[in-house]
């Protein structure tokens, strides 16, 4: 059955009120009846029932949400992100109160506004309207089905409206759900955009962060300057006149432990401990006569600690210098380790 919307224009409050009354008597329910005006008129003047809206509820809910958000920001997140702030309390009463106050108020305002939009059905495509309403005329609008149409029209004309408009109501889908969904999606999108910025996913700088790259030179950063012409190279302090500049370390347990570890890293690449062991991958590149000797071989056992130290520092034969790898003290650790090795039975 088709629904119709009617809008009657009246010149004053009196006749509008009468029309409302007449329409109600015809059987139009209060719900489908609207009085349109250019400024607020109390429902009493129009002879209408008081409209019980739930704006207070919406504002209250907003206030609660704002309060909860404030508590979340002020109380819970500092626990989630325990920043080291040098003994100052992460929770502090008075500042927290300020935050709670502001966000509660913000929640109330937003809640009130959203409640207003929701309950007023905004944004709506409207319905019948007449520009004369904005000029001071009053409109009485009803929505009735076909059965009641005749009677309603009669009731209208009995009060001599300035104008009477009629339109068929086409069923429209409820757009609130759509709008709500769009709003939520938009909010999420904004949220994710913020997250993206804060997570440095894109490394997007609006202006170059000059502190990220510095004008100072860090270790091993080019361009490296060569030594000035005529500079005398310093041979280093490891050897003086071909002899170690530092004294051997005592064969303590610490030293031996360190030595064993360092041997594994720096020496075991080529050298084996026992002669029976298979040669390492690197050593296999050497011709048979040039193979690195095993540590327990007679050749190595015959060396003095100072000689071994010098070999590590300077290299010997095909063995490169390991000065870059080991500090002098560490070299002595390795020497200690090598000296402590005994041939396998």
């Amino acid at each position: 059955m088709a629904e119709y919307e009617l809008l009657g224009l009246f010149q004053d409050v009196d006749s509008a009120g009468d029309a409302v009354e007449a329409l109600r008597q015809v059987g139009v329910s209060d719900r489908s009846l609207r009085v349109l005006s250019a400024f607020p008129l109390s429902s009493k003047i129009l002879g209408r029932k008081h409209y019980n809206h739930k704006l207070g509820l919406a504002a209250g809910a907003g206030a609660l949400l704002g309060f909860a958000a404030a508590i979340f920001f002020a109380v819970i997140t500092p626990q989630l992100y325990p920043i080291v702030v040098g003994g100052r309390p992460l929770l502090n009463g008075p500042p927290m109160l300020i935050l709670v106050f502001e966000l509660t108020m913000l929640g109330t305002l937003l809640g009130g506004f959203l409640g207003f939009l929701w309950q007023g059905g905004f944004p709506s495509a409207g319905g019948l309207y007449d520009k004369r309403i904005a000029e001071g005329y009053l409109g009485v609008a009803v929505q009735v089905d076909e059965a009641l149409l005749e009677k309603v029209q009669a009731a209208y004309s009995a009060h001599k409206p300035v104008d009477l408009k009629k339109a068929e109501v086409k069923p429209r889908p409820d757009r609130r759900l759509l709008i709500g969904t769009i709003a939520i999606v938009a909010l999420l999108a904004v949220n994710f955009a913020l997250l993206a910025v804060s997570f440095d996913i894109l490394h997007l700088e609006f202006l170059p962060d000059q502190m990220k790259a510095q004008i100072s030179f860090a270790s091993q950063m080019g361009p490296r300057l060569g030594a000035p012409a005529g500079a005398v190279p310093v041979p280093g302090v490891a050897l003086v006149g071909g002899r170690p500049a530092t004294a051997p370390l005592a064969m303590t347990e610490d030293s031996l432990q360190r030595g064993a570890i360092l041997f594994d890293i720096h020496c075991a690449v080529c050298h084996t401990v026992d002669e029976d062991e298979p040669v390492t991958q690197v050593a296999s590149f050497f011709p048979d006569d040039g193979e690195p000797p095993a540590m327990t071989s007679a050749r190595v056992m015959a060396r003095t600690p100072e000689q071994i130290f010098t070999f590590i520092t300077d290299g010997i034969g095909k063995m490169p210098s390991l000065a870059e790898n080991l500090y002098p003290a560490n070299r002595w650790d390795v020497v200690n380790d090598v000296r402590s090795l005994t041939p396998a039975e």
Partner: protein, 484 residues
Amino acid sequence: MSIETERNPWMSAPPESEDEQEQVEHLRKDHLLLDPVGMEAMNQDALGSMTRHGRWTWMLIVVLGGLAMMAGVGWLVQLFVGLGFTGLNRTIFWGMYIINLVYFIGIGHAGTFISAAFRVMGFETRRPIARAAETVTLFALAAAGLFPIIHLGRPWKVYWMIPIPNQRQLWPNFQSALEWDAMAIMTYVVGSVLFIYIGLLPDLAMARERTGVNWRRRLYSALSLGWRGTDRQWALHESVSTIFAYVIIPVMFSVHTIVSWDFAMTIQPGWHSTIFGPFFIVGALYSGVAAVLVAMGFLRRFLKLGYFIREEHFDVMAKFLLIMSFAWIYFYFGEFLVTWYGNLPPEMTILDLLLYGEAAPLWWLMIFCNVVVPVGLLWMRRVRRNPGILFVIAVFIQVGMYLERYLIVGVMLGRPELPFNYSWYYPGLEIPIAIGAFSFVIFFYFIFTVFVPIISTWEVGEGQFLHGLRKIGRKITKFKSDMH
């Protein structure tokens, strides 16, 4: 102002005797709410004001827009080069950017006060000027919101002040007054924008109906959200306005209190004061009401809104201004009395500096603008009812209040505890940017008046209707429908 009228039926009956006629005529001339001309005429007048910008106004708009753009360029330069072109130094780290922030937030207080507090208190005089005042708030807040960002050394990192979860697991410091500031200003801006928008809805709908089919109509249709003015919509509208009015007043007070805490929470001599909260609120209302007076003068003079904005409104606002000036003087005197009595060397240095030192010219000029001019003139009824003179007085107060903030931020900061660090502030790039900010506010105010009815006709109509009811009492309340 002559407007063709078609008297609505609820207007009072024609006066019976000649005496009454004279009395009624007198009242009518004086009071907007007793001088109804009908909604149509009012709508026409209010909407017509959008097209009443003359050639000079448009030229002014262009100039103002240009100045605002210039400030934008200045800020871009600052963004890429650093804050070096400002007059800040190693003693005075806050300058005109913060002064502007405080000043514009102060201006932004009057609009809310007039529309929300006057609404709550039932002052009928608010009706025609509320929107004009709220618009001042809106754009002053927009300018004020820019300045903390302009002020920053690395503004592109400003989002670090917002509590959003991040991989660094860092959180803003809610113990910092600046963080409170950010929260309070955000709340206030959101509240003010929504408040002004709610009030605008019916007028946007009215504008929608009264414009031909063009882009304007499309704009108004979208903005008015399909407002029809049904009784239910009006009931919701009333309620939401009341909620906003009651909530936004404490927010307004909190905002400037918190701004004052930016200073009061430090240990800088001259700033470390407990009365800064109420003192700043009073100062804010003082300069804000003066700014609204400037706007009202402009609307009346250039947009020819003399029907809506009458001498009675100027009178009320001027009285309010006078009260605020007394309150301001009280706080200012109180603060310095305490300083003088306490006699602490760092504080006395500042007092001496203001009274007879380097800053004395500025200080005495401020006293002249803020005390001598308003207190000396505003007690006269003739002055209070003269928009021209009021305009001048209001400009004086703007200068005075700007100077007051300048002295607090730019001058007092130059006198820290150790005399080795004494310094003086010579603003540089801040001046064009401040000029740009003023232009920005005025520019957008102008533009706003082009697009939106600056007078809330539905509020005036409602007021006139209610007055009509009150005046003829019994005669009109006897609706037939009321009997049931």
